[in-house]
């Protein structure tokens, strides 16, 4: 039963990836693209957690934590650049 739920979960998160990527391509403004990149990193965390359950390996949390960290830093840096025209003032 869990493997069936995991298959559906992989399909749903993959569809979420596709929708965020379409918004990344389409986004009318730069802020939409930054938001789509942030959502893509969160979707990557979800996919890695599902893969960790599927392979029964606790190795993937470090990767998920790193992606969370880098996604947050990237989002903040890009938003700060749009807001102030500079990142480190």
């Amino acid at each position: 039963m869990l493997s069936f739920a995991l298959t559906i979960g992989f399909a749903l998160v993959g569809a979420a990836f596709a929708l965020s990527f379409l918004r990344l391509l389409k986004g009318p403004d730069a802020t939409d693209r930054i938001l789509a990149l942030d959502t893509l990193s969160i979707n990557a965390i979800a996919l890695l957690v599902l893969l960790g359950i599927h392979l029964a390996s606790p190795l993937y949390f470090e990767v998920a934590l790193l992606i969370a960290l880098m996604g947050f830093v990237g989002t903040v840096a890009l938003a700060k650049f749009l807001l102030r025209g500079d990142i480190i003032e």
Partner: protein, 115 residues
């Protein structure tokens, strides 16, 4: 694996994946930036939260003791999601993006101050 644990795990995985999908669907479908900001920042953190609780349950019952380092990812996401949403909303207001409902302007602010 205990059948109740497996039912709980399947439910958590399905709920988390469904919330993640709904968040990205909102990001794709909604019509202006300020409404699009709602989808990922609320539904996606709830979805990833459900998935991480499922993962903590799975690794706690499958092997060596209690597995708690998923809590770290959850805590980090719950702290950082409002901060990045706030910064993105500030950047969008700064760039004067078109909104479905116009944001409160100068007269609104001065009216509050005068009152």
């Amino acid at each position: 694996m205990n059948i109740f644990v497996e039912i709980l795990l399947s439910f958590l995985v399905l709920a988390g994946a469904a919330f993640t999908f709904i968040g990205s669907l909102g990001l794709y479908r909604l019509r202006d930036f300020y409404t699009r900001l709602h989808g990922p920042t609320k539904a996606t953190t709830l979805g990833v939260g459900c998935l991480l609780v499922a993962s903590a349950t799975f690794f706690s019952q499958s092997g060596a003791g209690l597995s708690l380092h998923e809590i770290l990812v959850t805590l980090f996401l719950f702290i950082t999601a409002p901060i990045s949403a706030h910064l993105l909303a500030k950047a969008a207001l700064h760039r004067k993006l078109p909104a479905l409902v116009p944001p409160p302007g100068e007269d609104c602010v001065t009216g509050i101050i005068r009152r």
